[in-house]
């Protein structure tokens, strides 16, 4: 190259570098920097099994997604961590999600990871004259306010045409329920596994359990703030791919999956196995969820968990783009 051409070419290269889109620079810088882990607040319940399996089997790592687990006792607690900015994503039942949305939080559901119809139950003390569902009327029932346990009790009562006003609700933390029931401070508790089994075990033969699968199907979902999801679409896609792998793994290797979850949650494998078959681990977003979310919103407003007002539109609260991009047949939400 002659000196006559050298100067204009160098100038053109320098100009081209300056004119490159800024995203290009950011992407390069981002790729070079060590990836920041996604913090996920996980409830210490089998409902978050797919996430525990994905971590244990290295599916997140396979997808190139660094994950940091933030433990939480139950879904509502996990959602609180999300609200406090201590986590980027959380797993929880739909009830705490609905209540948070009703309080104006900008949350979205990334995907459902588990659902169960027969897990929730009302465990009651038989000697308090409770032998069938109708006997619950007029009794003191322990619930954890704002959780699926409370919503289940509401649905249970409706299922048996009992007015919710006919029971006295007592606020009990999930971990305290077996003791409170055994001590007789409440006549019954409405709760989930494994607390349900613990409460039943605490009462021994004097317990009576009412399970009503038609009343409520508990759905556990992965939740994130709308802002985080919008700016981390690629990470969400990786997360979803890892969860789908975990789902396939759990279906193909149920025993190994149970061992992983039991070990992570420090549960007795026998206790876990008893309720495992009732759990459906499936990564999806369903139209029926919208019906449930709206019903739960009506309940939450009726129970005073949120201010009364018009029913919110939950459709934008379901983040469809991720699953639609990866496995569209898992989205049955009309969109």
């Amino acid at each position: 190259m002659s000196a006559r051409w050298a100067a204009p070419v160098v100038a053109a290269v320098v100009a081209a570098l300056f004119l490159l889109p800024r995203d290009t620079w950011h992407a390069s810088a981002h790729a070079a920097a060590p990836a920041t882990p996604i913090r996920i607040a996980l409830s210490s319940t089998p409902h978050a099994a797919l996430l525990y399996i994905a971590v244990a089997q290295g599916f997140f790592a396979e997808e190139g997604l660094p994950i940091a687990i933030v433990p939480a006792t139950h879904g509502k607690a996990a959602l609180d961590l999300l609200a406090q900015g201590k986590a980027d994503l959380a797993t929880a039942a739909e009830v705490p999600f609905v209540i948070s949305v009703l309080h104006g939080e900008r949350l979205s559901v990334v995907a459902t990871v588990a659902s169960v119809s027969s897990e929730m139950a009302v465990v009651a003390r038989r000697e308090r004259g409770i032998s069938n569902p109708a006997d619950i009327a007029g009794k003191r029932v322990g619930v954890t306010p704002g959780t699926s346990g409370e919503y289940y009790l509401w649905a249970f009562l409706i299922r048996h045409m009992i007015s919710p006003d006919d029971v006295i609700l007592e606020a009990v933390a999930p971990g305290q329920m077996p003791q409170q029931l055994a001590a007789g401070n409440v006549d019954a508790v409405s709760t989930w596994e494994p607390i349900k089994s613990a409460a039943r075990d605490a009462l021994g033969d004097s317990s009576v359990t009412f399970s009503e699968s038609d009343a409520y199907t508990v759905t556990h979902v992965v939740i994130g703030t709308s802002g985080f999801i919008a700016t981390h679409a690629e990470e969400i896609n990786k997360l979803l791919r890892a969860l789908l792998k975990a789902e396939a793994f759990a279906r193909a290797n149920p025993d190994k999956a149970q061992r992983i979850v039991a070990e992570r949650l420090k549960l007795d494998p026998k206790t876990l196995r008893a309720g495992w078959s009732d759990l459906t681990f499936r990564v999806d977003l369903r139209q029926s969820q919208l019906v449930t979310l709206e019903d739960q919103a009506r309940w939450a407003m009726a129970r005073g968990h949120s201010p009364s007002g018009p029913l919110p539109n939950f459709l934008p609260r379901l983040y469809l783009d991720g699953l639609l991009a990866i496995q569209p047949d898992r989205v049955t939400v009309v969109h």
């Binding site: 649905a155 409706i158 299922r159 045409m161 009992i162 007015s163 006003d165 038609d214 009343a215 199907t217 369903r286 139209q287 029926s288 019906v291 449930t292 019903d295 047949d329 049955t332």
Partner: protein, 483 residues
């Protein structure tokens, strides 16, 4: 391996490939048919579920007996469809099981909804509980139906995927089959080129070499196929030819030497015989001239007979010498105008016997490729023959012409003379062979032998057709020159 065996192997492989491809296409087609049937069934399921949803809505809105009756019918139909479905595969069986369970749950909830007590006559609290119950059951019902529909669509999608997969398999099988056949065709072409065409080309080259006189050319093909066998036979043939040619050469040399000896002998004999003959004739003539007046008539007649005999023997010797010369003379081929030669001979014969009236019919433009001097001798003999044997014919006609006989040009000399019996025709061309007595028609019996020798030297043939009293036609044909 023999070429025919290789050919059979290639053809069998090709046929097996085609049969395999056809079998796989048939199997895939069967798969497509089965998947289509499954899709139709799942479509029926989805249609039934949609109808169920419609009548459920209608019942929720109006609480009429008619949608309730319809719901029962659709539920039963769906139960039958699910029960009869032969879907296989873990995911499909699981989805079908879920569908069956949901259908039963939905029907139970529908019956519960239908059995909900009226709010009329109840307290406000009870009425509220009933309304909430209805709302809960309705929601649950709709959720179940919606999820059942999703399952039905999943099964439909699965059937569609199966159809697509089967069709893709058909395409892959066709491509694989075509590729395999192309491979076989390529291998067969390579094989034919290597084992058939190339050896045939070498064989052709060998035949050309042998045709050009190189009998030492050898193929040395060791293959055990048909061409190898042919090549070995070819080598054996050239070996035999070489042996035969050497024998022929030796025979020819011996024959040539023998011929030379015979010719030298006959020439010497003919030449040496002429001296005593000339003496006999000369001294007989001297006796007649010098002592004629002293001899009586019988003595003179005897002397005349001696002279005639010696002169005839002289002619015989001349003609034998001519025959010998014909054999020895080197051939100098060139275009010979037979018409012109014939006219010259005819004119000469006419001068020799001006008292005879012979009609000559000489075809114009007869040309052959031959030795002119020999052809003159041959034609001279043939025309003299015709002239002689028409000597007693009142209106003698001699024709010289050319015609095509058995696809080849043949010249002929025909006369309407005395002819002869064809029984003796094979004797005609021998030396000193005569069919007529010397007193009847004079001659030495050498002329036709000379003609035959000349024609044979030209690689031609001569033959005759005749009838007693109706003349004779002599044909001769010569080897055509190579253009």
């Amino acid at each position: 391996m023999k070429i025919s065996t290789k050919g059979r192997v290639a053809a069998t492989t090709a046929f097996l490939t085609i049969a395999l491809v056809a079998g796989m296409i048939w199997w895939a087609n069967d798969e497509v048919g089965d998947a289509n049937e499954r899709r139709r069934e799942t479509t029926d399921l989805a249609r039934g579920l949609t109808e169920l949803r419609l009548v459920t809505f209608e019942y929720m809105l109006h609480r009429h007996e008619r949608p309730r009756e319809q719901e029962r019918r659709v539920h039963e139909r769906l139960e039958r469809l699910i029960a009869d479905s032969p879907l296989a595969g873990d995911a499909q069986i699981e989805a079908l099981g879920t569908l069956r369970r949901r259908n039963q749950e939905a029907h139970r909830l529908f019956l519960e909804l239908a059995a909900t007590p009226s709010v009329e006559g109840t307290s406000a609290k009870q009425a509220e509980a009933i309304r909430r119950f209805e709302a809960q059951v309705s929601s649950r019902l709709l959720i179940l139906q919606q999820e059942s529909l999703a399952d039905a669509f999943f099964l439909t999608d699965f059937s569609t995927e199966r159809i697509n997969a089967a069709q893709q398999r058909v395409v892959l099988v066709i491509i694989a089959g075509l590729s395999l056949n192309a491979l076989i065709a390529g291998a067969a072409t390579w094989f034919i080129r290597r084992d058939v065409l190339s050896p045939i080309a070498r064989l052709q080259q060998a035949t050309r070499e042998v045709a050009s006189g190189d009998l030492d050319y050898q193929l040395h093909n060791d293959s055990d196929d048909e061409i190898g066998e042919t090549a070995r036979n070819f080598d054996a043939m050239t070996h035999s030819l070489r042996t035969s040619f050497r024998q022929i050469e030796r025979s020819n040399q011996e024959l040539a030497a023998l011929n030379q000896e015979i010719e030298a002998f006959s020439y010497s004999v003919s030449h040496d015989l002429r001296a005593p003959l000339r003496s006999m004739d000369g001294f007989s003539l001297a006796l007649l001239e010098d002592y004629g007046d002293k001899l009586d008539a019988e003595a003179k007649d005897s002397l005349q007979r001696v002279r005639a005999a010696s002169q005839r023997m002289g002619r015989l010797i001349d003609e034998l010498l001519g025959l010998s010369r014909v054999t020895r003379t080197e051939l100098k081929r060139g275009p010979v105008n037979l018409s012109e030669v014939a006219r010259e001979i005819a004119e000469s014969l006419g001068h020799q016997s001006p008292q005879r009236h012979v009609e000559w019919r000489i075809e114009e433009g007869m040309t052959v490729h031959a030795d002119k001097s020999l052809m003159q001798i041959a034609l001279q003999n043939l025309l003299e023959n015709a002239w002689k044997f028409t000597g007693k014919t009142e209106q003698a006609v001699i024709r010289i012409g050319m015609r095509v006989v058995d696809g080849a040009k043949a010249c002929f000399v025909a006369d309407n003379g005395v002819g002869f019996d064809m029984t003796y025709a094979d004797r005609l061309f021998g030396a000193f062979q005569r069919l007529h007595h010397e007193n009847e028609f004079s001659g030495t019996g050498i002329g036709l032998a000379t003609v035959q020798r000349i024609i044979r030297r030209h690689e031609g043939k001569v033959w005759v057709e005749a009838l007693p009293g109706q003349g004779a036609t002599f044909f001769f044909s010569l080897k055509e020159p190579v253009p």
